[in-house]
Amino acid sequence: MDARQTVSTEHHFLHSPQRIRTLLALFGAPGAWVMQMALTPPIAAYACYPHQFPLPAPLWPGLTAILATIGFVCLAGALFSGYIALASWRSLARYSKDASNKQLPVQKDEGQARFLAMLGMMSSFVFIVAILFNTFAVLSIRSCSAWI
């Protein structure tokens, strides 16, 4: 080690392409859910209650279609994130298997990549379910009806 003023760059264990995949796997589905929550209730609220009084029907006739489209786009994003998470996990599992069979160098990341890939899969699963729940909620309720 150089005694002079240096720092290590080896701690950047996630190199660029892998880092992007990991971040997408971890935060893609939650981000899609946040997007759906940030768009759907305010749009629905404005369409049904734009000023001082609630409306019997939405301002825009296609409100349900708009909200469903948002839901499906977010669901697609979350599913893509889940796919990336699953692919990362499988790739790491394959590498571990190959490493043990062919005596390749063992990954020296102390299991972090596997941990993050597993987190990504779990996170994608939870938020795909959350988006599905929200989308069903949009499709099964008349937009501005009273709850009776």
Partner: protein
């Protein structure tokens, strides 16, 4: 600042030195020197100036427990009033002030601060560090919390305490219907408390990503740390909403603004949105670290690692994020569009998934382990049972039609007490029993411990389960009395008896604490044979925590070699590590993989956090009293104290401006 690691590229300005690796024998002169560097001065000077995370942690715990006792006594007064119909023990106004202060005290002055106490004390020990990232900010956080608590009680003896419920709905809390100082005290006190919570949260976030011992990669972080980290990140998003809400309300009340005044095109519903967009995440803020306590401590008594570490870590984070999308379930009865209601209802149900994952992980840990029925285990197991009951009633109220039936009834009171006592108080008391030996060097009495658990558990369920029935029978919450013909007499009588039994349990616990501090059996470094890092140091820990910075090789550093399936070659190094003793120094590591990157120069003790806290709190007193000159003076003094605090000092510089060849490349502080 030191260079540690492989040579890749130059940093400018230059770094100072590379620390040596070595050992510091216990009782050696070098250890004495280290103790001298980190110790706090005795007497009142040290009390006011200390920035030791352990002292601050204990102060948080003691202060929060004092508030718990005060809030509990208020609750007992409420229960005496409700023990039978048509009681006249309290007037309606006294009842309003007592139930408001009970809620404010328990939710804001006990539930989070007590968890901050554990985290402040334990984080550096769990992470293998010598202190929190910002020790002075840590001290400031405590002082402002203390002053905010005192501030919120300032009008209580005068009969002018906050009286509009802990969520303080407008228009009742507005200037038209609430003309006294009651709400102003609450509003300003909450803004003040928000400062404490915010700075504390920043400290936790930075500490996790900067202060972990080498080798404590992101997949080896204890669940308590995940819980507090998640709660802290949430605080940074949630606190601004409630601080803004209370500040706007204060402007409405004192400056004549109309943010919530419907007669002047204000929006009363804006209050509910701002409050609950903070309030529901806050519920998770006050339970997730407690869940982390159980996840870390329960395995000790099950003699096996937590089942599903990754799943529980994910469940913690997912719960918090989902917690930001459920606030409208507190507003189902406000006339919002049905699509919005159904979406928030759906999100409120989804949140049960990660919660259930954690519950199944705890049950599996108990099931697959060999439980040792010590007092902490009883509290943690009791917590799991109460969590399930509180969670189930939560899922019920996530359904909009059922919520409409149960809204504003005692069913909701039962639910929130199962959540807040079940998921906060039980783990906290269990955690005190668990970490008391570490805090004090003495064990608590097992006999009194078991008495306290069973008394609290029976009293709690006798007191709060009947509230579900009272709610289903239609008893509204926040009523100061009720007529006898409603059919609520028996459930209220049982509730009151149960609440007193619960109080006796808490009293037994407090007696146990007092007796054990003086007369408890001496505890060794690791009396429970626990796996985590805090048990590697003596009880109580030395001022510097770790003589050398340890290198971590697994999730259970003290159980290595015992756990089936763990890598055989990996061994944590506790005795040998980086030697850092040129002043208060600790190691800074990289955020994800915890590689050492820098020696952090930590500040010494200082009066400035206390003074800043004091002057800022007095500034709020000035606002309350409309004393603008005094307010301006306190603002100036706060700025002056901050300037002293922040004044640049060469010995705290993280980089040197000139290269010293004599020191470069050698530690110089080796034994």
């Amino acid at each position: 600042m030191a260079a540690i690691g492989a040579t890749r590229h130059r940093i400018d300005p230059p770094l100072e030195r590379i620390p040596e690796v070595g050992r510091i024998p216990a009782g050696s002169p070098i250890e004495a020197r280290l103790e001298k560097i980190w110790e706090t001065a005795p007497g009142w000077r040290g009390s006011l100036s200390t920035v030791d995370h352990k002292t601050i942690g204990v102060r948080y715990l003691v202060t929060a427990f004092l508030f718990l006792v005060i809030g509990g006594i208020e609750a007992l007064f409420l229960r005496i009033q409700l023990v039978g119909p048509e009681m006249g023990f309290l007037t309606p106004e006294q009842y309003n002030q007592l139930f408001t202060m009970h809620g404010v005290t328990m939710i804001f002055l006990y539930a989070l601060p007590v968890l901050s106490g554990f985290s402040n004390y334990l984080w550096p020990l769990l992470l293998g560090s010598r202190d929190m990232a910002f020790p002075r900010l840590n001290a400031l956080s405590y002082w402002i919390f203390l002053f905010a608590g005192l501030f919120m009680y300032i009008s209580f003896p005068l009969g002018q305490a906050p009286n509009a419920g802990w969520f303080n709905y407008v228009p009742f809390s507005g200037p038209v219907y609430n003309t006294g100082p009651n709400i102003d005290v609450f509003a300003l006190g909450m803004v003040l408390l928000g400062i404490s919570t915010t700075v504390g949260s920043v400290n936790f976030v930075v500490t996790l990503f900067r202060m972990r011992a080498p080798g404590m990669t992101i997949n080896r972080v204890p669940i308590l740390v995940w819980g507090t980290l998640t709660a802290s990140v949430a605080n940074l998003f949630a606190i601004p909403a409630v601080s803004l809400a209370f500040f706007l309300l204060w402007l409405d009340r004192q400056i004549g603004a109309h943010f919530f005044d419907v007669a002047n095109n204000g929006q009363p519903l804006l209050w509910q949105h701002l409050f609950w967009i903070f309030g529901h995440p806050w519920v998770y803020v006050v339970v997730l670290p407690a869940m982390g306590i159980v996840s870390d401590a329960l395995p000790t008594f099950c003699r096996r690692p937590l089942v599903g570490y990754t799943a529980v870590a994910l469940a913690t984070m997912a719960t918090m994020l989902l917690g930001f999308g459920v606030w409208v379930h507190h507003m189902f009865a406000t006339g919002l569009p049905t699509v919005a209601l159904s979406i928030f209802g759906a999100a409120s149900m989804v949140i049960s998934i990660p919660s259930a994952v954690a519950v199944f992980a705890w049950i599996a840990t108990i099931w697959l382990g060999k439980p040792v029925f010590k007092t902490p285990f009883l509290f943690f197991a009791g917590f799991v049972a109460l969590f399930i009951i509180g969670g189930m009633s939560g899922v019920m109220t996530a359904a909009v039609p059922l919520d409409w039936q149960l809204n504003e009834t005692y069913f909701i009171v039962a639910h929130l007490h199962y959540v807040l006592l079940g998921i906060n108080v039980f783990p906290v008391v269990g955690a005190i029993y668990y970490w008391f030996p570490k805090f004090t060097g003495r064990m608590m009495s097992e006999k009194l411990g078991k008495w306290s658990f069973w008394t609290m558990f029976i009293g709690f369920n006798a007191g709060f389960f009947p509230m579900h029935i009272a709610g289903l029978l239609g008893m509204p919450r926040r009523i100061y009395t009720y007529p006898s013909r409603m059919g609520w007499d028996e459930v209220n009588l049982i509730t009151t008896v149960g609440s007193f039994i619960f109080a006796v349990g808490v009293l037994i616990f407090l007696v146990n604490v007092v007796l054990s501090v003086k007369r408890g059996a001496r505890a060794g470094a690791n009396p429970w044979d626990a796996p985590t890092l805090e048990w590697a140091v003596s009880s109580p820990p030395p001022a510097y925590n770790f003589a050398t910075i340890p290198t971590i090789a697994s999730r259970h550093p003290l159980w290595e070699g015992r756990i089936e399936g763990e890598e055989e070659h990996s061994r944590t190094k506790l005795e040998e590590g980086y030697l850092l003793m040129r002043g208060r120094e600790t190691l800074g590591t990289s955020p994800i993989d915890a590689k050492p990157v820098v020696i952090l120069k930590m500040p010494e003790d200082s009066y400035t956090p206390f003074l800043v806290g004091l002057f800022v709190s007095l500034l709020f007193v000035g606002l309350l009293l409309h004393s603008w000159t005094f307010t301006a003076l306190m603002t100036a003094l706060s700025c002056a104290a901050l300037s002293v605090w922040m004044w640049p000092r060469r010995n705290l510089g993280q980089r040197t401006t000139r290269h010293d060849p004599a020191s470069a490349g050698r530690g110089g502080e080796g034994p």
